[in-house]
């Protein structure tokens, strides 16, 4: 057996040759060898008793996994519109010039790869990039040159961090330049809680009483869909099965959101407390924190917090001294796939598969992770759970608005003076938030990220709550200097890149919408394009299999409904005999070159 095969087999065996741990296996192989090569596919397949193409299918799905060797250092520039607005284009050009390569390429010495990646959760400190696991923020062209020089000198991205961020960003296990930018604290999430305080109160009650409290508090999921948490837990508790799971969705991928990153950095204890309470309530002994690959730099700190909690008797067996109560948490690292924020895709990924969503029914509460009843909840939701158990459901239900009790974290970025994280009671008018963040001359606000909706000033009086302007927390501000059609094109590019490709409408429809928007941006829009786009958008929304495709047309629909003049300004009635989409000069270019003379009829 070659040394290579031996090492790969050792990695597989460290995960008990369990094919459902494929994500961990292929990530470990890549960390060791720089890629998951064809040879590695064969060894892994044989070790975990599956086929080569199944392993390849998983590897090929995730953008952070690769079959071909990349540079030892991979620079991933954030391609989000917010980063672009903050000046990413010149930064990208500076990286290209300094490295002597184009985006998507690797330096000839195999040292450095340069590529784009979607929102990395740093919109409040844009432009930002990931260099291997190291986050670099507030980039400029000068900084780009310094970064390349330092990487060439030391080959170590960690050396790029000179000044540490605030709070736990400066923790020895993190050592990151990231800033929390917490601008407004509230009583529910961004507040201290002595570890174990809420858990002990929960354990003094029966599991059914805990669920009753969550229902009394009328807690709804903070991920954006707003499903009642107590009901989800009740379904999971009542579902048949000895083995049940609690999964925390920390795959914070919606462009413009970063509030979970702050919770994970500063309030991980609160989150894990909530997960343990959930485990007790639904009868689960095992929990998984699905951490997006972009936040890998937080993993050592999170593992540390888990260990401290185990040592304190807050995780593990006989939790808080209560006999028979058992719960522990493992971290599953993602690898660059927005769709894995969809709960069934997230489960597929935890099972070591492509991040394809699953058919529903059955719902995860019935058949989730490994076919067992599973409750998947958002990071912020678990924090609310811990607070509700500590302060009581009545206290919680008094905060916020009638249909949306409690507070909500908002990740605010874009054209405003004070981007960062804000905790408000639900029901705050958008106008109040815009005033507090110092947003002036506002043309549009993207509420809930690209999968949410884009609204204009006529909607600023509306309230941020489930029954009005619902959002998972992403708020991106665009001032009047921004080109909204361009922004929509960028968001569509994002969905095209992140579609899993399972179903027809999302895989093809998003490409077709992007094509049309690009035509319009290029000045070839026709009056009929609005109806064309509306029809496509409605089809994708209506027939797509999961939340990604069901919401990906929202930027287009928002533009058409809320900013009709932005599109119409780009569209002109057909001039002459051709449709605007048809450019006779372009159509003839090849022929003219071949025959070596301009067209006689359509001469320029």
């Amino acid at each position: 057996m070659s040394e290579f095969e031996q090492t790969v087999r050792q990695i597989c065996s460290a995960f008990k040759n369990d094919r459902t741990r494929m994500m961990d296996i292929v990530q470990a192989v890549q960390a060791r060898f720089g890629c998951v090569s064809g040879e590695a596919l064969d060894v892994i397949a044989s070790a975990v008793n599956t086929t080569r193409v199944e392993v390849q299918s998983t590897v090929s799905f995730y953008s952070f996994l690769t079959a071909q060797p990349k540079g030892r250092i991979v620079i991933r520039l954030c391609s989000d519109p917010v980063d672009e607005m903050a000046g990413m284009e010149p930064v990208a050009r500076a990286f290209e010039a300094e490295l002597g390569i184009r985006m998507g390429e690797t330096t000839p010495d195999g040292a450095i790869t340069l590529e784009w990646t979607p929102c990395i959760g740093m919109s409040d400190q844009a432009p930002a990039a990931l260099i291997n696991d190291v986050v670099v923020t507030y980039l400029s062209t000068d900084k780009a040159r310094e970064i390349v020089a330092e990487l060439r000198r030391s080959g170590d991205p960690r050396k790029l961090v000179h000044r540490l961020g605030d709070g736990h960003n400066a923790h020895p296990l993190v050592r990151s330049m990231v800033h929390n930018n917490v601008r407004r604290k509230g009583p529910v999430v961004l507040a201290d809680l002595p570890p174990g305080a809420a858990l002990r109160k929960a354990l003094a009650m029966s599991p059914v009483e805990v669920i009753r409290d969550i229902k009394t508090a009328r807690l709804r999921g903070r991920g954006g869909a707003g499903f009642p948490t107590g009901m989800k837990w009740e379904f999971t508790r009542q579902a048949e099965g000895d083995r049940k799971f609690v999964i925390c969705n920390a795959d914070e991928g919606e462009p413009g959101t970063f509030k979970d990153r702050v919770i994970l950095t500063e309030y991980a204890d609160l989150l894990f407390e909530g997960m343990a309470i959930a485990g007790y309530a639904i009868g689960a002994r095992e929990g998984i924190l699905y951490l997006r690959g972009e936040y890998a730099y937080l993993r050592p700190l999170l593992e540390h917090v888990l260990q401290v909690r185990r040592d304190a008797g807050l995780l593990g067996r006989d939790i808080c001294g209560k006999r028979g109560v058992e719960f522990d948490i493992r971290i599953q690292l993602g690898a660059g796939a927005y769709v894995c924020g969809e709960e069934t895709s997230l489960i597929s990924s935890c099972e070591g598969l492509r991040g394809d969503p699953k058919n529903r029914p059955p719902f995860p509460a019935q058949k989730g992770y490994l076919g067992c009843p599973t409750s998947v909840n958002n990071v912020e939701t678990f924090c609310c759970v811990a607070r509700i158990l500590d302060r009581g459901p009545g206290w919680f239900a008094e905060i916020g608005s009638k249909g949306s009790p409690g507070t909500k974290l908002f990740s605010v970025s874009g054209d405003c003076a004070a981007p960062g994280v804000y905790e408000y009671p639900f029901g705050v008018p958008l106008a109040d938030l815009l005033r507090d963040v110092g947003a002036e001359d506002v043309q549009a606000v993207q509420v809930g990220g690209p999968s949410g909706q884009m609204v204009g000033p006529e909607s600023f009086h509306r309230r941020l709550e489930y029954d009005d302007l619902a959002t998972g927390g992403s708020i991106v501000v665009f001032n009047t200097s921004r080109d909204l059609v361009h922004v929509v094109a960028r968001y569509l590019e994002f969905f095209v890149d992140e579609s899993c490709g399972y179903c027809t409408p999302c895989r093809v429809g998003n490409v077709l919408m992007l094509r049309k928007i690009a035509e319009i941006l290029a000045g070839r829009g026709a009056p009929s394009d609005v109806a064309y786009l509306t029809g496509l958008a409605e089809c994708v929304k209506f027939t797509s299999r999961c939340g990604l495709g069901q919401t990906s047309p929202n930027p287009v629909l928002s533009l058409i409904r809320n900013f009709p003049t932005a599109l119409e300004g780009r569209i002109r009635p057909p001039a002459g005999e051709f449709l605007p989409t048809f450019d006779v000069r372009r159509a003839l270019a090849d022929t003219e070159r071949l025959v070596g003379r301009p067209s006689v009829i359509y001469a320029p």
């Binding site: 193409v53 090929s60 077709l512």
Partner: protein, 239 residues
Amino acid sequence: MSETLSFTIDGVAIEARPGQTILQAADDAGIYIPRLCAHKDLVPFGACRVCTVKVNGRPQAACTMPAAKGMVVENNTPELLEHRRRLIEMLFVEGNHYCMFCEKSGNCELQALAYRFGITAPRFPYLFPDRDVDASHPDVLIDRNRCILCARCVRASRDLDRKGVFQFVGRGARKKLWINAETELAGTNAAAEDRAVEVCPVGCLLKKRQGYATPIGRRLYDRRPIGSDIESRRPTPTT
């Protein structure tokens, strides 16, 4: 298990056996719901979305949605037909489909659906993707230009042939059918007799040396539109 569940499709009362999907129950009742990825011998997949119906007002794929008592299902409505037409057109422009010289012409489910829906030309621009042809295998051809990513071969090879020859790699618009070998189908244990080859609804997986065997006029969909076999089961035709 003799108990049945009653529900309606477009107002027609349907009896379903427990565990049946809407599509299976509709098939038994002689009501045709158009589909491409669904196949009677394969586990439901829900990829093409052509079978999208409304269940109590909400969109659902009929092939994956279990039938339940009292469901009100809409199938043949102008809204749904329009969505299906768009989906079929999307599949045409996504690949490179040249019916006029395709060996599968006349027996192709995608082509037959287009005829049933009266599609003469898609309203979307052709994407003209660059896709591989794999002619390495002595008896089976893969022409990915015609693949609609329905996963029938993936499921058949895994569940019926017990070979696991096919799976998808990549994601989104770059997702493609791949094989359990380094580069070529010849490197797998695929065989022409595999169910995986037979269930392909289009001309992506073809048995070699059998092209154009049936003369025009006697091919599967030459005389009667796709779905008419199911519709002929209906006891009292009303349309």
